[in-house]
Symmetry: C2
Subunit: 83 residues, 2 copies
């Protein structure tokens, strides 16, 4: 079966996120004044061939831990759905 894993990789809370800060400071100049904290990270989608959802999720988690995320500075979140 085919699954699609949606992965969000974000800078850890408590770490400075300069990209997010830059966007936050720019929003008032386009007329948006009701936004507070902005954080920016990466979003990835992986098409995974697996027997079931648990196996697909395990594959995505291995990929995050070994390659995609820097666990010292980033956290990740995985959502898997069948396609």
């Amino acid at each position: 079966m085919k699954f699609l894993a949606d992965i969000d990789i974000m800078p850890l809370k408590g770490l400075l996120d300069p990209q997010g800060k830059a966007v936050g400071y720019s929003l008032p100049s386009i007329g948006i004044h009701n936004v507070g904290d902005v954080r920016i990270g990466k979003h990835m989608t992986l098409e995974i061939e697996a027997a079931d959802e648990a196996e697909a999720k395990a594959t995505a988690e291995t990929a995050c831990r070994k390659l995609l995320a820097n666990l010292i500075m980033e956290s990740f979140e995985i959502r898997v759905r069948s396609i």
Copy 2:
């Protein structure tokens, strides 16, 4: 009320995503052979002060259209939840 908008900004399907391709080619070298297409984009979270969910979503959409996304090459998806 406070809302958190989760925004995914991804390269349009059909456009080459070299970053995703690079990750896709690297996965076999860490022992992952069951992943097909990989696409990489941005994930952003915005803390929005708004009267209701619809207003928060409208704010996030304006931010995407005017600043965050390049609509010629990217598409965006917004999920809003109250916090």
